[in-house]
């Protein structure tokens, strides 16, 4: 069957079985390998993408459920050479070691900040708890999310009309 996905602002068609996971479709059919396989059971968060702005475990979502939806992967966050503030803060804080969890972490953080622009540490931990960093960089990831929150709010204030 053919499914139409709006991935990173571009319409992509995938000819696959309806019960194929969104993760497999992104990685194997659309060549978007920034989204990672970690467990296939929705337990590690490495496959996190945004579907209509909300964070979703792409290994647990069937492609049929994503049909016609707006999907953002790690490849779709930067604007040209300009990194998304969350990407930039992960880089600045060096909130990663092996980096395998990083795309999922960043997308989870982006989803959080969309809904809660100024999260408390508790809110960050609660929201991000489904994402595993086996290298144990949690403290720096929390710091990166906090930094992204403050940089985003500064930018918004600067840009907003007086």
């Amino acid at each position: 069957m053919a499914f139409s996905l709006l991935v990173n602002g571009v319409e992509r068609i995938a000819e696959v079985s309806p019960d194929e996971s969104l993760l497999n479709v992104l990685r194997d059919h659309l060549e978007l390998t920034g989204t990672k396989y970690g467990c296939g059971e929705g337990q590690c968060g490495a496959c996190t993408v945004l579907v209509e702005g909300s964070s979703v475990r792409s290994c647990r979502m069937k492609v049929s459920a994503a049909n016609g939806k707006k999907i953002t992967t790690i490849e779709g966050l930067a604007r040209g050479n300009r990194l998304h503030p969350v990407q930039q803060s992960f880089l600045d804080v060096e909130a990663f070691q092996c980096g395998y969890c990083t795309p999922g972490m960043i997308l989870s953080a982006v989803a959080l900040l969309e809904r809660t622009p100024h999260p408390t540490e508790k809110q960050i931990i609660a929201h991000m708890n489904g994402n595993v960093c086996r290298c144990g960089t949690y403290q720096r990831i929390v710091e990166a999310v906090q930094r992204a929150a403050s940089s985003t709010s500064r930018r918004t204030q600067d840009a907003s009309p007086r």
Binding site: V16, S17, E20, S21, N24, R27, D28, H29, E31, L32, T33, G34, T35, K36, Y37, G38, C39, G40, E41, Q43, C44, A46, T73, I74, E75, L77, A78, L83, Q87, Q88, F90, L91, E94, F96, Q97, C98, G99, Y100, C101, T102, P103, I106, I124, I125, A126, M128, N129, G130, N131, V132, C133, R134, C135, G136, T137, Y138, Q139, R140, I141, V142
Partner: protein, 732 residues
């Protein structure tokens, strides 16, 4: 062989040494890299040298070269190492050391790593040896190159070399304003030089690039998703493989029907001995085909978790006469009667899994009888050997390339996925990718060994240690020896038959041996009614370990920390692989649940190369150690893993993360040592000791509190007179 490497290898499997290194010919090198200067160790068809080995003779015209460094005629610097990047950040820290010795900005150094065709032979990335050995090797190569550049400039200008200095990618002449870039010096040249025996190394006190925080090499690729891990590689015409696994260990294939699978479109099924696999167009198709294979297995009865520790004791295979496995000094029997306090306790550790977030993966490509495999392994040359022997190939017909990998933690020494992908690719006649599922990784990889440790000890009334006996069954000999001053000791490792496949794990047995020793030290301190910190210092002469202990205790505020029934404090320290560590843990107890609130860890690994990366390694080791300390355990029964899923095997998450304060002790007067492992060893005993300080419950098994605090009253009753409030609380 290096003793560490020996115990490391012995603990996971007997892996024979590589016999021949692959030698890149001199002319191939310049074809690959362009002109310029190559600095390395001449091979001259000698047996391959292990990383770090020296060749004293300086051959006139080396035909082949194990190259370590290239300075191109564009000024680009390329360093070569068989080490791999698995998140420990050595791609950055090694480049820093090259840049330092060559007096160039970090950005002009590129590292080629873990490629058996391009990099010199290396035994593997383990044992915390990259910084002390490879770092030194590359520093020597770079300092030798700097000496060559100065010599070339001296000849060009007809001035004494003493008047010349290297600075920011140029050679400058002190007596005039003359200067020349490395690129200009290299123009039109093809030079090969051997690494000097005694090159002009820069002492850490004068470091300008090393010793400072440097951002992770290619960091941007990790936040944009651009970095290609093995599992992200796609080759033209590539197919996806899947292996059909037995339902228990040591099972034999009884029958196998692949007809139904082969009726699916575009499927190749492979049966070879006990190996069954399928190849399909993509991952989902491979899964469907694998599910259609009907395989029957016959597995023997096997020991289960319930009998594990008794089994390890009763199945000693080797009473360990090897030097590494035994240490005796004085005579425990003669002094036993003189002890004012004596203790005898047993500690256990469970099997645990590494759980690298990127499971084992490989892409295999056969071309004209030659095999290229991309795979995430810590031993690219070891995996090359595995492939060569499995497929009866010459070593130089196999190339193993290790893309920067989604972590390993000692768990990726072997080449299972590489061998399987190569077998499938051979059958399919096309490149094949194989990515293990999480369940496969939990089941068919190897585990951190479980073990039983008996300690008996005695001390005089003044708190000085009199004797110490430490017997480790199966978990391993690493860091068995006590760092404390004890006149009478008997330390022994007893290898056992292991019910599960076991192997290296970050810090090896140092974590288990420190857990036992540092818990026991705490028990003895309480029995003697001496503050645990004071007790350690009293029996410790090593200045660096004392300094680490005092630094951690000072930062935590040990003296002012009073335990209550809901708040505990514990301390532990140790030495391993050149690193000195002291860990303080503060825990809270609520509704029988233990939470680690704060960890202070002081670490001394000599002259710090990259404080940014080092802090990440230390905090990461604490987090990983915390899992094994509190709740991680593999459950198994009769050859089957019972919790081969992340939903059933708990790993540390955000909500488990304490505040971690890292105290770096930068000893510029000491050689730089590795830091990937030793920072892990203090957390479990520090937490166990903290639990005791709060609750009076002494837990002697790792994991400590998989289901919360033990509620069984006998746990408390077994305590010999310990107050429910911590002793050190009373003393402070």
């Amino acid at each position: 062989m290096h003793p560490l490497a020996d115990s490391e290898l012995r603990q996971h499997e007997s892996i024979s040494r590589l016999r021949h290194g692959f030698e890149l010919k001199r002319r191939d090198f310049f074809k690959l890299l362009g002109g310029g200067l190559v600095v390395g160790v001449a091979s001259l068809h000698a047996p391959a040298q292990e990383s770090g080995a020296r060749i004293k003779s300086r051959p006139e015209t080396p035909e082949t070269l194990d190259s370590w460094l290239h300075i191109g005629d564009t000024g680009q610097i390329t360093a070569f190492t068989g080490k791999v990047e698995v998140g420990q950040n050595v791609r950055t820290s090694l480049a820093q050391q090259v840049a330092e010795e060559l007096r160039v900005p970090l950005s002009s150094v590129q590292m080629i790593m873990g490629d058996t065709e391009l990099t010199p032979y290396d035994m593997g990335t383990f044992g915390s040896r990259t910084t002390p050995q490879m770092g030194m090797q590359l520093r020597k190569a770079a300092a030798s190159a700097r000496a060559v550049l100065i010599r070339l400039a001296g000849r060009k200008w007809q001035v004494p070399e003493a008047e010349l200095a290297a600075d920011n990618g140029r050679i400058r002449h002190a007596g005039s304003s003359r200067q020349i870039t490395y690129a200009e010096l290299m123009s039109g040249k093809q030079l090969t030089e051997a690494i000097l025996d005694d090159p002009p190394l820069t002492v850490p006190e004068h470091w300008k690039v090393a010793s400072r925080p440097a951002p992770k090499a290619n960091g941007r690729d990790f936040v944009t998703g651009a970095h290609k891990y093995t599992s992200d590689i796609a080759l033209p015409g590539m197919r996806e493989g899947r292996v059909i696994r037995p339902d228990a260990f040591h099972a034999k294939l009884v029958s196998c029907d692949t007809n139904q699978a082969e009726r699916l479109p575009d499927i190749t099924a492979v049966r070879d001995g006990n190996f069954v696999g399928v190849v399909a167009s993509d991952r989902a198709a491979a899964e469907r085909a694998a599910a259609a294979v009907r395989a029957q297995w016959d597995a023997p009865a096997q020991p289960s978790e319930t009998e594990l520790f008794a089994y390890l004791r009763s199945h000693v295979v080797d009473s360990s006469d090897s030097r590494d496995d035994q240490y005796v000094t004085g005579s425990i029997e003669q002094v036993r009667g003189e002890a004012a306090k004596s203790l005898k306790e047993t500690y256990t550790v469970a099997y645990i899994a590494h759980v690298p977030l990127e499971p084992r993966a490989a892409v295999a490509d056969w071309k004209e009888g030659k095999l290229t495999v991309w795979t995430g392994t810590q031993r690219p040359f070891g995996v090359r050997e595995e492939l060569a022997s499995t497929f009866h190939l010459r070593q130089d017909h196999v190339r193993v390339i290790v893309p920067d990998t989604g972590s390993a933690y000692g768990g990726k020494h072997t080449g299972e996925a590489a061998v399987e992908a190569a077998r499938l690719a051979k059958a399919a006649g096309k490149p094949v990718k194989l990515v293990w599922t999480r369940e496969e990784e939990f089941t068919w990889a190897y585990f951190r060994p479980s073990g039983v440790i008996d300690i008996s000890s005695g001390a005089k009334a003044d708190g000085s240690l009199l004797y110490w006996a430490h017997d480790n069954y199966n978990s391993g000999p690493s860091a068995m020896r006590t760092p404390y001053e004890v006149p009478n000791q008997r330390i022994a490792f007893h290898e056992s038959e292991t019910p599960l496949r076991q192997g290296s794990y970050r810090s090896l047995a140092a974590a288990a041996n420190h857990f036992a020793r540092e818990s026991h030290m705490d028990e003895l301190a309480h029995a003697l009614k001496i503050d645990p910190l004071e007790f350690r210092l009293k029996n410790l002469k090593d200045e660096r370990l004392r300094a680490a202990l005092q630094a951690a205790a000072g930062k935590l505020g040990w003296k002012a920390s009073s335990a209550t029934p809901t708040r505990g404090f514990g301390i532990a320290c140790g030495f391993e692989k050149g690193g000195y560590v002291a860990t303080c843990a503060e825990i809270s107890v609520e509704h029988n649940q233990v939470r680690i609130v704060r960890v202070v860890e002081a670490f001394d690994c000599g002259a710090v190369v990259n404080p940014q990366g080092l802090k990440n390694q230390i905090a990461g080791a604490v987090m990983q150690g915390l899992g094994g300390a509190l709740f991680e355990a593999i459950h198994f029964e009769n050859g089957r893993i019972l919790n081969a899923h992340l939903a059933d095997y708990r790993v540390p998450r955000f909500s488990d993360a304490p505040r971690i304060d890292v105290v770096l002790i930068d000893r510029k007067d000491q050689p730089s040592m590795g830091a990937g492992e030793t920072p892990l060893v203090g957390i479990a005993p520090a937490v166990a000791n903290a639990i005791f300080s709060a609750t009076g419950i002494r837990i002697r098994s790792m994991p400590l509190v998989p289901g919360g605090l033990p509620t069984n009253k006998t746990d408390k009753a077994s305590l010999s007179g310990a107050a429910s409030n911590s002793l050190h609380g009373h003393l402070s």
